[in-house]
Symmetry: C2
Subunit: 411 residues, 2 copies
């Protein structure tokens, strides 16, 4: 894409009403726009990142048998009363409103109830199981405070997956495959080394649940980490039997701040029982379906990537989710034809490039390139006898290339 055609602009000044690094950098780069606290629109560059993250997650969910659906924002009061999660005393993040008829409706902050209720139409026998479904849903949560940019919003995109199985054994097997898929996802979005499977409190049904936590100085959680065993324990359960279970000593663990990027829960049969989702087993006996839920906050994950990987100059996108892989900068009118040639060549071989063809100073272009954080910067300038200056945004490594050698090295 030509940068002159992009309607967004970068800003030099820090937005006054933002305290989080992710919102600050993303707003300055024109990736997002703040509508109100915790509520952000995604502009062309930001939407490209979001869609790339979604596609990575989608591929991994499909690989383990997930079927994609999309549930609704509007929610029926009656359904949530069944599980006693309608009242504001029980769930304090509901947005609620009324239909013209006067009937109260809520706005989806979670979808376990409606998906499980729906499954009553499709699950009746053990032959119908297992079922694994997932969606990318815009969740609305009436949070009291929202100061963490896109890391904790009142409106945010979440991937939530639900598993319906016959028993604990088949549940456990799928649960393990989700753990593996989550590891692959965090690896692919560039957070693999910083992200750890973490034992957390399990709610009513199990001793522990699992979270995935990314080590981050600005993270809201405290975890105790064994880098050696690649596992962590959330502070909230450190006193339990979890150390023993994992064969760890507290003194060997590192206390670090971290941010939760994924969570997985086992509900056993309790939620299905409450909602009336039963199946007949091979002997004709009626049993509640075993339920698991598996979340990744997609917009949150994008915020964590920005917080974890940026430097003092701006964002550093991993190649897998960068809005474009290459940023071409032409320095001066005379070099536009050459820059255009580079741009055309990259397009021809399918390498996504943003071409800064704007009539602004070289200094402004360099600053914008650092802020936007595309992995490979290609400067078309007058030095170096016509060779291109190619710089790696992450490592700072520079080298000189011809158009041909650049294409070759990127392919």
């Amino acid at each position: 894409m030509r940068q002159s055609e992009l309607f967004t602009k970068t800003r030099r000044e820090t937005p006054k009403d933002e305290v989080s690094k992710n919102a600050e950098l993303l707003i300055r780069g024109g990736f997002i726009h703040k509508e109100m606290a915790g509520v952000y629109a995604y502009l062309p560059l930001g939407l490209r990142v979001l869609e790339k993250i979604k596609n990575i997650v989608r591929e991994e969910m499909n690989k383990i048998g997930g079927e994609e659906i999309i549930m609704t924002t509007l929610q029926r009061k009656e359904l949530w009363e069944v599980t006693d999660r309608w009242s504001d005393e029980k769930v304090d993040v509901w947005f609620k409103s009324s239909l013209k008829s006067g009937a109260e409706v809520g706005f989806g902050w979670s979808h376990e109830e409606p998906i499980t209720e729906m499954m009553k139409n499709f699950i009746g026998s053990y032959k119908d199981l297992p079922v694994y479904v997932y969606q990318f849903q815009t969740k609305l949560r009436n949070e009291l405070r929202a100061k963490s940019g896109i890391m904790r919003g009142r409106e945010f995109v979440m991937k939530d997956m639900y598993s319906y199985t016959t028993d604990e054994e088949s549940h456990k097997k799928f649960y393990d495959s989700v753990v593996e898929a989550y590891h692959r996802i965090f690896e692919r979005v560039g957070l693999g080394e910083k992200t750890f499977l973490t034992y957390a409190s399990g709610g009513a049904f199990t001793d522990f649940s699992h979270e995935f936590q990314t080590v981050l100085p600005t993270g809201e959680d405290t975890i105790y980490l064994s880098r050696e065993k690649k596992v962590a324990i959330n502070k909230e359960v450190l006193q339990g039997g979890v150390l023993e279970k994992l064969g760890l000593k507290k003194s060997d663990l590192e206390e670090v701040a971290a941010s939760e990027v994924g969570n997985i829960f086992s509900f056993g049969g309790a939620k299905s029982e409450a909602l009336g989702l039963f199946f007949k087993d091979e002997s004709g006996k009626s049993l509640p379906v075993t339920l698991g839920s598996y979340g990744i906050g997609i917009t949150r994950l994008m915020g964590v990537v920005v917080e974890a990987l940026s430097d003092e100059k701006g964002i550093v996108w991993p190649e897998s989710i960068a809005p474009f892989r290459v940023h071409i900068l032409s320095l001066g009118e005379k070099l536009k034809a050459k820059a255009q040639e580079v741009y055309n060549k990259l397009n021809e071989v399918g390498i996504e490039a943003l071409y800064d063809d704007r009539d602004i100073s070289a200094g402004e272009k360099f600053n914008d390139a650092d802020l936007l954080g595309l992995p490979v910067r290609v400067v078309v300038g007058e030095k170096h006898e016509g060779k291109l200056e190619v710089k790696n945004r992450k490592t700072g490594e520079e080298k000189l290339e011809t158009v041909e050698s650049l294409v070759h090295s990127l392919k």
Copy 2:
């Protein structure tokens, strides 16, 4: 995809609470699930159709210079008060709620205001124009009644595009390019022959606006149609100067029921002026930006396709938006290996197929295939010396093919 792995099932009985053909067929086929009146979830097959429609629209919007973004559901009261569209007397489809702080918020039923407000960050000079942006947004509208299935919902997906230009002339040029893009879209989703550019009432800023209306017996509008000139007039403006303008006589026009599938509006500079979106022209003079808006109801369009193209046996999807292009039916255990071979061959060459590998009767498979409406049905049976029975869902045309000749004819 193997049909045995699809969690949805078809239903023979008509849902008791639906009066529209689109909802009836889509629910029976397992494409959608009703959450409440006018609020539907999209299940795997339905989501595939929806995404294909979105991709066609996306391609055409990108082709005319559109940049994709995604705005927010949550809306600030203060912003909508500026244009006097907050109060329930002025806009009767708002869903509203409150933040914990007590501040009122609305849920987006339209996005002209927030997008135009946001553009104040990016538009200051004639050099920043034109800007064309669009989004696929889930709109929430508190409709009094919702009986038309996915054709008029309380929650629905809309593509809305907005153009920001310097003057009427550049606006008109873009407006015309949208008209052409819309014609291409309706052609590509299979409604080209039934869909007409229609003159409708123009609101405060222009004599007429344009709608795209699809001729449909169950449509909620009445239009007067000139098939010869490929243009129509909405009943609401038939008495104006529109006949003269178009060189038409009322007696030559055909009165038909139709359903609106797209609309385009010119706002001139009024909305920008109200919201404070001005630009400096070449002489340094401050002028309001000229605004146009261009909508296509994506879920509605899916509903109209179902209503317009189905027959007594079920849905008839056009190839461009069918969830799968081919439906393979294996009749009996002995033929599974052969059916699997056909399925593998089609996968290899990238032809999307649904393979009905379920252990149910041939009659049930035939009925389901008709209901689901995939364009090409391939029966792997015992007759015809091993040849495949290939039937076109739309025309009913049947022929015998080998695996090789089938692949060849579909490529």
